[in-house]
């Protein structure tokens, strides 16, 4: 098991290293460069000045050299300054990370609390009216454009009913206190939750139906256990194995969801930071936020693999990494 985990971690580190080069290269392909931005803010810079500045900052060097320079800085803990915030990038990232953790964590838990029971209910009575209804809901959940859902919620609760704010944070609005803060979280959490319930419910239902076909379930029923005991005592734990894996794999989609939701609700988290950094040509910040999102996603995949081998003792560790 230790060896398996080690190999898997090594693999993730390799992907991360390759991605850091790829992202760095893509950044170089974005319109303009830092000197162009200086020229826009100071029209007195001549083209000779610009060339001199490019040489001074090493921007005329080939991409591999510039990447090496960035990497050696990054490895010694120097990730550079954010252009938009005029602060070291790490000072910008921490608060955003805290905000995103609250948003993603809460919506993740709420989504599971709704989706798993729904999936089980649907699986216990397959092809019933209830199953049919849940199935419709699932399809609606995976087909709804997440940004449109957010707009609809905003229209209903902020414009028509006027009971919740349309976006932003309590601090920005000058309000304080726990409940005020919570008010600003309701709509982003609701839209993220609704968007992810569909998929989770679907996996849970499929896995539960599969599990209930097993012989040991028939045995459990034959010895007179109530249906409730059969489900919770015998079927549930086995049915959860594939679900846990798929949910861990979905970690990556969390960032995509956060990007859209946070941008719409002007919620100051990592998703909005990534978007703003790319749009605002804040290269250092974009680089590090994108790498962070990649690392987070890779970690989710790593967890999925470990969880899978750990939960299912039939899998041998040696085989799964060959």
């Amino acid at each position: 098991m230790t060896r398996f985990i080690f190999n898997r971690l090594l693999q993730s580190a390799l992907v991360l290293a390759v991605m850091s080069f790829a992202i760095y290269g893509l950044m170089g392909l974005m319109p303009g460069d830092p000197i162009d931005l200086m020229i826009t803010s100071d029209p007195k810079i001549t083209s000779e000045d610009a060339a001199r500045l490019r040489a001074l900052y090493g921007l005329d060097a080939p991409i591999s050299e510039r990447y090496w320079h960035w990497l050696s800085g990054a490895l010694s803990g120097d990730f550079g300054f954010s252009r938009m915030f005029a602060r070291p990038v790490f000072e910008v990232i921490w608060p955003a990370l805290a905000n995103t953790s609250i948003l993603l964590g809460l919506s993740f838990i709420i989504a599971l609390m709704i989706a798993l029971p729904l999936g089980i209910i649907a699986a216990v009575r397959p092809y019933s009216g209830l199953d049919y209804g849940i199935n419709l809901f699932v399809f609606a959940g995976i087909s709804v454009p997440p940004f449109w859902l957010a707009l609809l919620l905003m229209m209903l609760f902020a414009v028509v009913l006027g009971i919740l704010p349309a976006g932003g944070t309590a601090e920005a609005a000058g309000a304080s206190g726990f409940w005020q803060g919570l008010k600003y979280l309701v709509l982003p959490i609701a839209s993220l939750t609704i968007a992810s319930i569909g998929g989770h419910t679907r996996y849970m239902r499929a896995s539960m139906i599969e599990t209930l076909r097993n012989d040991y379930i028939r045995t459990a029923r034959a010895k007179g256990l109530s249906e409730r005991q059969v489900i919770t005592g015998h079927a549930l734990r086995n049915a959860l194995i594939p679900v846990v894996t798929i949910i861990a794999l979905d970690f990556g989609y969390l960032f995509s969801g956060a990007l859209v939701t946070e941008t719409i609700f002007a919620y100051p988290g990592m998703g909005k930071l990534i978007f703003d950094a790319i749009m605002g040509n804040d290269y250092n910040l974009a680089m590090i936020t994108l790498l962070f999102a990649t690392a987070f996603t890779l970690f989710g995949n790593f967890l999925a693999d470990v969880a899978y081998t750990w939960l299912d003792p039939r899998l041998s560790f040696g085989e799964s990494d060959q």
């Binding site: 992907v15 390759v18 991605m19 992202i23 893509l26 950044m27 170089g28 392909l29 974005m30 319109p31 303009g32 399809f139 609606a140 995976i142 087909s143 709804v144 454009p145 997440p146 940004f147 449109w148 707009l151 609809l152 905003m154 229209m155 414009v159 349309a166 990556g252 989609y253 960032f255 995509s256 990007l259 859209v260 941008t263 719409i264 990534i274 978007f275 790319i278 749009m279 974009a286 936020t289 994108l290 999102a293 990649t294 987070f296 996603t297 890779l298 995949n301």
Partner: protein, 299 residues
């Protein structure tokens, strides 16, 4: 003795017909395709025009001359929706077919040749699956095409944003098909009829084209249908964020870009385009589901 002979197509149709939602979805998509495909004709017949700016008639409610009202520049909303649908469906289908072609080629090569090639291709596929999709697509959508050394005419052409979005979305969407095709190719490769044709001296290319690909058709069709919905969603998200299809070309996604600031004045502007995306995507999902039930003998 009379015996009715069922042709496979008839059986398939009988199974598919039971899936009422899939039938309804298929019909709906056909209607949408007809409306979008004949957009110029319909707009001419309805005497509507989505391009004319009329600043004296902004945010008009529904009326006889503007069946769904007007937008922030006084353009007719229904006409914009029809033109947008034409682009959204066209881009969605093109990108889905493109993605499915890439996925099929990679999956076939990987499954048929096996060995190191398989290991390499599948590692790449896993790597792409384990990346944060949307943030990276946004970077791809933001890069300056002229720095890639593409000819000036392509970069500055009016349709550049269309080509770019098709390529970007297809690059992200091929993995599911590749994995599916690989898995089925692996299983088929060991079957006797493949061995027989190898023994007869058929080339790899011929075996893949004549013997393997037709057997994969059903799965590829289902996967492509299901992924078309996702790809339309992805395109609409990117266009909504201002990175996909660029105005003045209308798409359902970019019709929503301005709608957010206008939800207080004109909530209907935010409602219709999103509702159309939703209906289209759910129809593709139901259709794919129905096709899978009909084509998969195990179900």
């Amino acid at each position: 003795m009379t015996e009715t002979v069922h042709r496979p197509q008839a059986l398939l149709w009988a199974r598919f017909r039971q899936h009422r939602l899939a039938i309804a979805s298929g019909s709906l998509l056909l209607i949408l395709a007809c409306i979008s495909g004949g957009a110029p004709l319909w707009l001419h017949l309805l005497a509507l025009d989505g391009q004319t700016v009329d600043l004296f008639n902004r945010f008009q409610p529904a009326s006889a001359s503007h069946p769904l009202g007007t937008d922030e520049l006084g353009r007719d909303l229904l006409a914009r929706l029809i033109e947008g649908g034409r682009i959204s469906l066209l881009v969605g289908l093109t990108a889905a077919l493109f993605a499915s072609a890439i996925g099929t080629a990679i999956g076939l090569a990987s499954g048929y040749f096996g060995g190191r090639l398989d290991a390499f291709l599948m590692r790449c596929t896993d790597g792409i699956i384990s990346l944060p999709l949307l943030p990276l697509l946004i970077v791809l959508a933001a890069i300056d095409l002229s720095k890639l050394g593409l000819p000036e005419a392509v970069v500055t052409s009016e349709n550049a944003s269309l080509y770019r979005i098709c390529v970007i979305v297809a690059l992200a969407g091929w993995t599911t098909v590749a994995r599916l095709v690989r898995a089925e190719t692996l299983a088929l490769r060991e079957r006797d009829f493949i061995r027989a044709s190898t023994a007869q001296g058929a080339t790899s290319l011929r075996i893949m084209r004549v013997h393997i690909l037709p057997n994969l058709a059903a799965s590829i069709i289902v996967a492509t249908t299901l992924s078309t919905g996702n790809i339309i969603l992805l395109e609409s998200v990117l266009s909504f964020l201002g990175l996909g299809i660029q105005p003045p070309i209308a798409s359902w996604g970019n019709l929503l870009t301005n709608a957010q600031e206008l939800i207080w004045e004109a909530p209907q502007l935010a409602f219709y385009p999103g509702a159309l995306i939703f209906v289209t995507v759910i129809a593709f999902n139901f259709l794919g589901d129905g096709l899978r039930d009909a084509l998969d003998p195990k179900s």
